[in-house]
Symmetry: C2
Subunit: 372 residues, 2 copies
């Protein structure tokens, strides 16, 4: 289980004693190892970190030192990277739908690759980032993913080809295709289907005089919460095989992992603040909940929880600290008998936790600290 080594648990406990809870402890070694794993498994590909997973400056700096590049969505994300002196040639814009002010600023800053999937966006890009390289976002099956993304973004193959032609007519440079299999995707075959579908667009575009060379297979690489997931190597193998079969002439491959680079590196340290019995079921209240860090529990993520107590697991409701009934982390958590004041560790909490967090009801967002 990631993060559960006695050494790392010890470091975490030591820091938490000083800084209190809730606190998100990010382990630098795990991030390094994860990045290296993607480098090794995707040789020759460009690796863009999807910043939205966890935009904390310490993570950006570490990944940048390692040679990682970045995928962003907004002016806010761009400004944070510029402040950290990230070179813009290593930044791409992955959001198919963008604010005009972001596109303008990105263009003058030197960002030259934008995803899109609508005619309105072509007009915006042609006006605010003339001559830029663009990738069309293709709708692909999201089988086996925890958070399917297909309904909000992406177009079907015919439309994708039409959009590429139109972009070219407006002076943009269509270079490739991007897709997303959905977040926390546990079926490697889903990438294979998406790659096969990309080939159709590729050929439709070629028939109309548009030569593509870039294939961004996105993120969605799963991490381990409670259950084992396919390894990066297994998924990479499927992707490489599919690409070789679908594109015998080769492609420039890009990937954009977010969760997979930082999720397993994070331990969210929390404290039991209260206990109750309701309808004969035990309730455990923590100082971190749905609003200040565990929003993904609403979408079905079940975190592994390490506690300082032995004893058989008891099924209980795990809730956050706020006055809001929506602030329930799990109705079927299993933890040993706990007491008020106990410190617990919520594992694999490095992605989409503090990133989603708000200060609702006056509860602080966990501060981020680093372990070696």
């Amino acid at each position: 289980m990631p993060g559960s080594s006695p050494h790392l648990q010890g470091q975490t406990t030591h820091i938490v004693e000083k800084v209190g809870t809730p606190a998100l402890m990010m382990n630098k070694r795990t991030i390094r190892e994860k990045y290296q794993e993607f480098r090794d498994q995707f040789k020759g590909a460009r690796v863009y970190y999807a910043l939205k997973a966890n935009p904390h400056p310490g993570i950006v700096q570490l990944l940048q030192e390692l040679g990682c590049e970045f995928e962003i969505s907004s002016l806010g994300e761009l400004e944070s990277l510029l402040q950290l002196k990230v070179p813009t040639q290593g930044i791409i814009s992955g959001n198919p739908v963008k604010e005009r002010a972001f596109v303008e600023r990105a263009h003058v800053s030197g960002i030259d690759l934008f995803a899109f999937d609508s005619y309105a966006e072509i007009d915006k890009l042609a006006e605010c980032a003339p001559g830029s390289r663009v990738t069309v976002r293709l709708t692909v099956p999201n089988d086996g993913s925890e958070w399917p993304l297909s309904n909000k973004f992406g177009v079907e193959s015919e439309d994708a080809a039409d959009l590429l032609v139109r972009a070219s007519a407006r002076g943009l440079r269509p270079v490739g295709i991007t897709f997303h299999v959905g977040s926390q995707c546990t079926k490697a075959a889903t990438w294979a289907k998406a790659i096969d579908k990309s080939r159709i667009v590729w050929e439709l575009a070629a028939d109309r005089g548009i030569q593509l060379h870039l294939l961004n297979v996105g993120g969605g690489f799963p991490i381990e919460y409670l259950r084992p997931v396919p390894s990066t190597a297994e998924i990479a193998e499927v992707i490489h095989e599919s690409v070789a079969r679908a594109f015998p002439g080769g492609v420039d491959l890009a990937i954009a992992p977010g969760r997979a680079l930082v999720g397993e590196a994070g331990i969210l340290a929390a404290t039991v603040i209260a206990k109750a019995v309701r309808d004969s079921k035990p309730w455990i209240y923590l100082d971190v909940g749905v609003f200040n860090g565990l929003m993904e529990s609403v979408g079905g993520i079940k975190y592994r929880i390490l506690t300082p107590r032995d004893g058989p697991p008891i099924q209980c409701v795990l809730a956050g600290p706020s006055c809001d009934s929506f602030d329930v982390i799990s109705t079927e958590a299993e933890v040993p008998h706990l007491e008020v004041g106990d410190r617990i560790h919520i594992m694999s909490a490095g992605a989409y936790t503090t990133a989603y967090a708000s200060q609702f009801d006056g509860f602080h967002i966990p501060a981020i600290h680093y372990t070696e």
Copy 2:
């Protein structure tokens, strides 16, 4: 419709031209009128503003000038009120489940009324706020409310009486009962049922030597979004009748509105940043979405939207700006044909919008400005 007067729309447009979007425009006159309405309808009752609805300093200052008191849940909320010099004799702690550090700080600051609903909380209060006055949180029916609260907090009548006896034995001073009918409750009869149930606890406690005098009927007062709701006067009448019938000896009545004091005072100004057609359905993307202001749309709140365009309403999907598929405000919004760049006004957006907001994906939380 609240907020739709030409005068107020004009003021809002004027400020938004300067400050840009997204921006939450809070109208002070509406807050004043709403507070006065509660004062008039609940003569003799103490009115506590449930700070979590919108904790912005300007709102606190205005309500304080008007004589309103405050209900809080956390150390963060306490600190913000202390910073604004709110006297602690006008603050109560409404969260049945509290962090120890909050209780300690509240006690030394002079807060003397705490809600609770578990044995563990009695221990905490007896240790950290000895001798304090306490109210027990009773589970009550949540019929007709948009966000039922009953499963996370509250106990049944017998347990409530037991807890009051136990609190007394630990040196706390049990003074009354608190309940919550659920947020945005549109059935006045739900309060009546809760009051009848409170009487049972009252009598059970009296039989065991505990004389109560305080009844906090909580919040849940509804506001107008798309559909009309019962007026404060209608709900007040039901509450007064029920109290008179259930407690012929009289009670000290308290109410804790949040949404009802500030919701209709807020206009969230937003801009159309993109458009697309997906599965033959129009999609409109705004610069505010589920994460940076409209979280309650996930729970079913449908906002009224004013646009600068005439023309027949078109059914469309209204989405936020982030890369996240969860960031969809409504799949069945009805607005006239809109263009990228159009400014729209989302009405009755003063409560539980910026309060829940995060900066996910780099999109800013709407700044709050005030109109007269």
